[in-house]
Symmetry: D2
Subunit: 134 residues, 4 copies
Amino acid sequence: MTYTRQMLDTYSPAVDIDLNTLATTIDALNECAQACIVDVDADLGVPNPTEMVKCIRLCLHCADVCTAAARIIGRVAQYEADITRPSLEACVAACKTCGDECERHAHMHEHCRICAEVCRRCEHACRELLDALK
Amino acid sequence: MTYTRQMLDTYSPAVDIDLNTLATTIDALNECAQACIVDVDADLGVPNPTEMVKCIRLCLHCADVCTAAARIIGRVAQYEADITRPSLEACVAACKTCGDECERHAHMHEHCRICAEVCRRCEHACRELLDALK
Amino acid sequence: MTYTRQMLDTYSPAVDIDLNTLATTIDALNECAQACIVDVDADLGVPNPTEMVKCIRLCLHCADVCTAAARIIGRVAQYEADITRPSLEACVAACKTCGDECERHAHMHEHCRICAEVCRRCEHACRELLDALK
Amino acid sequence: MTYTRQMLDTYSPAVDIDLNTLATTIDALNECAQACIVDVDADLGVPNPTEMVKCIRLCLHCADVCTAAARIIGRVAQYEADITRPSLEACVAACKTCGDECERHAHMHEHCRICAEVCRRCEHACRELLDALK
């Protein structure tokens, strides 16, 4: 059980959300933000970074939306659907686009292969949470 | 002319957006994030912080979505509508809700009055940019 | 092996740092930032939030320095001691002060007990990394 | 008078700091973070981004330490010297290193010339605040 899950367990959130789904998404968002940050650093170090420009830009976007969403959905006591839902939708889009681009480089760069995997997991978790919030 | 406007002027963004609208929104987002952060600090110091709990929570949400959106729309070269639009929509919702709550306390707390004003300006700027991106 | 560790494994960082120490610290920083964000939310919901004001403020500081440090030390390819070291020192101080305050409330609030534990772990990890960077 | 200055004016900070110095630094930090974010985007679009790799990495570091410091020093009610001082010192170092690197490209890239100027202003403001906090 992660610390996120333990923390959420100690108080009753305002909305009727399964805490496992919520904690899994928060952890996936933080993992994804961090993987994207490291992937930018790795991409900048390849022999020809020109090929990685799109990947870098998408990783930067993805890191920022995921960091913000993890903070927002971590504050469950004041759940605001109009803030939470588009925040998660931005993450779904960023993880999808970034994951697709990372996958294009996966055969060449192991860091992109892992980053793509983390983006897919996060995209999936955000979609599950969006469904659960319906 | 702010530094944001000067910076954007030095290179051609990928999308056909009026640079004034874009720079105004970025600056409004950063002003709003900062005002919300300071407002949380001020709210915590009032004689009865229990009354300010909702305001604090909304300011925290608002600061995080605005910081993320300023970063995302500041990276204009890789414009991704599916990331940009929900990010701005989350800001519109956060600024609206937070501005409404701050306004309720405006007659008692000058910091809430100013924060409400900054939220309104940011909400307006985000709506204008969303319209311009159509 | 966490994704952070896997990512770092795929490219050689500029400095001679043990990758386990580095990955452990990055993961501890992200865990701590998230725990502090959730603890703020939980603290605001207790019957008398006035007693939690100091705890909330320290958690807010701690979350922000930890998020920034995780990003900075995650970008290992351009290691800058003058940026990295004070960033980690700010985390050590924030985790220590926040951990102490959370501990004061641990007997009353389980969320503070867990948050204190996460702060201690993060403080320890940052100290280890600072030692390793010497 | 900026909104930051207006906000700070509404409540008495815990430390005896000149509010103009404080507000100037907060605004300089946010300007610098934003300029660095846009500069990364612009650097990635130059014909040969390989030459800009160091500049991009330093801008990324600089944006993150400045965003965190603006948040921390904006919460003046719980001033903690052991958190505030290293946070500002990390900004001084990041602004100095990033400003130097941007200046190297200033004759070629107008965005780097402006970013260097913003970094210098922020470095100066952080040094002034550190002096004022002594």
